[in-house]
Amino acid sequence: MNHWIIVPIILPAILAPFIVLAARHHIGIQRAFSVAGVLALIAISTGLAWQAADGTITLYQTGDWAAPFGIVLVGDRLSTMMVLLTSVLALFVLLYAIGSKWDERGRHFHALFQFQLMGILGAFLTGDLFNLFVFFEVLLIASYGLMIHSGGDQRLRAGVQYVLYNLLGSTLFLFALGSIYAETGTLNMADLAVRVAEVGPEATVGIRVAAVLLLMVFAIKAALAPLHFWLPSSYSEAPGPVAALFAIMTKVGAYAIIRVYTMIFHPELEVTMGLHDTWLLPAALVSLVIGMVGVLAAKHLDRLVAFSVIGSMGMVMVAISLMSEAGIAAALYYIIHSTLAAAALFLIVDLVKTGRAGLTLVAAPPVSGAALTAGLFFVAAIAMAGLPPLSGFIGKLLILEASFSTDMAVWVWAIILSSSLIAVVGFARAGSVVFWKGQSVEYEEDAVLPDAPSTLAYAAVGGLVAMLIAHTIFAGHMHDYMQVMAEQLFAPVDYISTVVETPGKMSTTKEGH
């Protein structure tokens, strides 16, 4: 048993208190450690992803306790890919936060950032539902701090909403875990998959309630309609780089749905049959519509991007709710795309904000460094709206193709295509008002032009856009990998046997009961 798989959790967990305790007054040292930590995370997660690429499932038993008794970390293709995505995103967001000096505007940005990473990476790696709850709380409590970073009345108000909504979500999560434990007597995911399959047809009430409650919890995280109301205010009021990092948080919800509903409550399971096509698919279609109509209706650039996140999560959930290998593969491709595109857009919004009075969509004098910012916005908006040639278009094609043979194909095709058109109009309108019409507005005589954003800030956004372009160019390779990832997800026998049968402390007592 090697220990690399727990390093993505341990490393930020050590770095964060170190930054708070030892480097509190030295922003330079904080930056150096934070960046070094994230670079190390990228190296480690690349290694983990490499290890998992051939289908190996890495199991880590904490304290050497065997599976249902101890907490396990499991690295398969999906979780290592999400870990890699998170650390790459974290690097660019961190560079932007340093370049735009956001980290100096309040205290403890870097420490909270590391705790946030610990929570997200832990949520991806854990193989235990209660441990997933704990990591959700770690990432949430760090996100509360990050969201109200540098203060301001509006931001605090949005922060209250965000915290309260998530507290309710956590409570719901505990109710779900309680009912699952009461029904099955375990919270280890692999062990649950075995036991849920054994539940007799006459005693399914509790387990069905638990499955729906759990779906609701993850839907809150994934901002699925009608549970998306927390997202627009909190994402648009959060500092730019924080909102960009939050782009991965909605994906934690999507990841949890994929994990739990392919392994534990898999689509062939009689108990929860129909959950995904009767409930999840319509909800996903509704949030797709709400998101894209929100893009068109938004009066502020930051809210526009927040709504586009809801829309793209709707798209992801449409693909997930097909619950087929093609659908999940398309969803995974789209998850990577939408994380990068949403993060890039939030950073661009922050670039615009530095040079402009407010983000209301009215013509105002050109923003500092307008040409470059406009160019980046153009590329990121094309990606987000799903126009060719960027990855949004490819992802959408994959989802359309995956849904073609299902009963709901008409609805899926009609809604995806029309909502894309609405999004294109929304983004085009916003871009032309902010960047184009602004050209014809004169500066006031005594206007002081703010400085153009720093090169590092542009480099960070440029890096994200470059990742998007790479995601487009290597779409074939990426999709092939997503395909084998989906195959692994739909054949969880390996995963389950690795977790349940690997010996450790206590494993001998298993024969006794």
Binding site: G152, R157, G159, Q161, L167, S170, T171, L177, G178, K299
Partner: protein, 117 residues
């Protein structure tokens, strides 16, 4: 005993949900606390209710209480306690800053005023 525990959870949850749907932060936070109490008792009961039984399986004992939910509840209590403290502080900050403790979004006029500042 089952009836008593179930009623307690039900009443706590109902009260919590009612308070959570209020407009101002203070009752909402109280409601969240009530809900977390309810869920703690619920988690506690998820290992089945037994009285006077030994907590860990040892030889010669027929019935025993499940120790795991107690560990889960401990974690849940700590987390919900910390989270409530955080939300009280943030809500207090928001209230003192804008002299308004509604939990809903401010209207567009207020947002525009904020932008103009």
């Amino acid at each position: 005993m089952e009836l008593l525990v179930a009623t307690a959870i039900g009443i706590l949850t109902a009260g919590g949900i009612y308070l959570v749907l209020r407009l101002r932060t203070f009752p909402v936070i109280l409601g969240v606390s009530l809900l977390t109490y309810a869920v703690n008792v619920f988690l506690f009961a998820s290992g089945r209710l037994t009285i006077g039984a030994s907590p860990i399986l040892i030889d010669g004992v027929e019935t025993y209480t499940d120790p795991l939910p107690q560990a889960l509840v401990l974690t849940a209590i700590v987390i919900s306690f910390g989270m409530t403290a955080v939300v009280v502080m943030i809500a207090l900050g928001a209230y003192l800053g804008s002299n308004d403790d509604h939990v809903d979004d401010p209207d567009d006029a207020a947002l525009a005023a904020e932008d103009a500042k």
